[in-house]
Symmetry: C2
């Protein structure tokens, strides 16, 4: 059976996702009119909701979806929304999911404050319901996500990074939250530590594969209304796995030439030259192979769970992550 | 006995403040070099540390300063630092305490992420030590602070605000954190709910007085290296108590004229005209009177606590807030 779309993958927990959407909407209500206006705008954009999906599927695979699972799903989605809103400030992004970004409409001030608000709102739901196990996991995740981004920023400025550092960065900035989604799902189902650790590891490996594919798509993806433009990372001088691998195979002269191109990479010609270099060195195939290894590891960690429609859905999600085109 | 400087006020807990400074420094260490660099820069700036001072004094007045009191003091100072770093992004501020701001040196990206990091770091300390009572208080505070700023932003854009809304804004954006400092201090000392509520109320009233004086200083303060330039609020079209009171006393024509001035208030002439209008209408005296009423209320809430050097220090802190010139 091949499931290719997120809505197919979500089928075993469709009712639960509907309930989540309802609760999520309610959680965003505020007495401050401007806050209400901005959150309604965020809700209209309908993201992929991969993170709540992960929480609910993990809960169901590990045992059952209950009130705590929904609270966990809301927590991670609020945190994710907060980071997106802050990311757009950080990147001066004009668009998000095809809509003008919050900062583009309401300026940086509102965007920074809304990010803080969304994060606080998420944490409050956990605090008010005594979900302290969630809080332990999520606060560490917030710290790792910001540290990961900061590490990437400093490495970007110096154009100096090795594979170990790259893996640390993507683990902190991306895999940590996906891992947290799966762990929180399992915790909500009240399973053994062995099982919640397995779910956490599943999410970590899934997240690594997810980010590597994201980085590959910067070289081979197609620009679309919702996708990022090709070569965005190159423009920002981010050295990700495809380029990192290619540079490691290169002579000193080649490396110097590419780094020079990166420093001037706001022109289309320079970006194309870097993309061609990576394709020619085999950086794409190598990265896809590494992503595939992480996805295999992810599948393996699911073995201790009983077979179910939800487990099949989690496995299909791995394939979806590997095969997605944007 | 008149205590006029913060260092005199701090004398009864000088040893505790030294210990706090040591622990605070340690709490900021990170394995990510850029994070370490920025936090060292923040530490060099040596803020007034009014918030940790409040936590420690409240703990001492309510009972004793212990490990939990220090953790509470670190939590509030980390949160406060996070909001300052984000504020400077929000306001495009070039300077903070006489030093170039984080965003001025490392750009918005690093500043937004560092704010998130500092907040997460603070929450983690509470989470890892099971200080759940602190978390209940602080997450609500983070929400109120962002909501208060957002409410002010929307009112600023519409130039439409009444006194009730003004008090709500300053309670949320400023008094909430000072109130939280005092409550956390009392909670750390393990006192009765009656006493922790009294401390909370003390902080709330102190915070209201603090912000009103801040708003008055925008009209009568002197520009200095560390102070804000005169008329900054007017330039940003923020209608605070002195102007609000003055507008309420004005004819329709006068009000229309002032609002027109506010819309063009990036010129010095316009700012001076608004300041003169407020002075002439008695907006300064009225605001000082209101601030004084809040300070009286603050003093009254301290009555249930036994007399001590620390209690005298808290009372002196109220006077310091009312009489400060920057």
């Amino acid at each position: 059976m091949s499931k290719t779309s997120l809505s197919e993958i979500s089928r075993p927990i469709k009712d639960e996702l509907d309930r989540f959407n309802q609760l999520y909407k309610e959680s965003l209500k505020s007495k401050v009119a401007l806050v209400d206006l901005v959150t309604k705008y965020i809700l209209k954009q309908k993201g992929k909701k991969i993170r709540p999906l992960l929480v609910l599927l993990s809960a169901k695979v590990a045992g059952n979806v209950n009130d705590r699972s929904y609270r966990g799903a809301i927590l991670v989605e609020l945190l994710h929304s907060a980071t997106l809103v802050h990311d757009d400030v950080v990147d001066n992004a004009e668009k998000r999911r095809g809509f003008p970004s919050i900062n583009a409409i309401w300026k940086n001030k509102v965007a920074v404050l809304m990010g803080d608000y969304l994060l606080a709102r998420g944490l409050m739901i956990s605090v008010n319901n005594d979900d302290y196990d969630f809080l332990k996991v999520i606060t560490n995740t917030v710290k790792r996500m910001s540290e990961g981004e900061l590490l990437q920023t400093s490495k970007t400025r110096k154009l100096d990074i090795d594979e170990e550092t790259y893996f640390k960065i993507i683990s902190d900035k991306t895999a940590s939250l996906l891992s947290t989604c799966c762990e929180i799902g399992a915790l909500s189902a009240g399973v053994s530590k062995e099982k919640s650790d397995a779910m956490k590891l599943f999410g970590e490996n899934l997240g690594m594969a997810f980010q590597i594919i994201d980085d590959v798509l910067d070289y081979v993806g197609s620009t679309s209304l919702i996708g990022k433009p090709l070569g965005g990372d190159i423009k920002e001088r981010k050295i990700t796995l495809p380029l990192l691998y290619s540079l490691n195979l290169s002579s000193k002269e080649e490396t110097a030439k590419i780094k020079k191109l990166l420093k001037n990479a706001d022109k289309k010609g320079e970006i194309k030259e870097v993309i061609d270099f990576v394709k020619q060195k085999g950086g794409i195939e190598y990265s896809l192979e590494v992503a595939s290894q992480f996805s295999q590891k992810a599948k393996k960690t699911l073995e201790i769970f009983d077979d179910s429609q939800s487990k099949i859905a989690l496995e299909a999600l791995i394939d979806f992550v590997i095969k997605r085109k944007n």
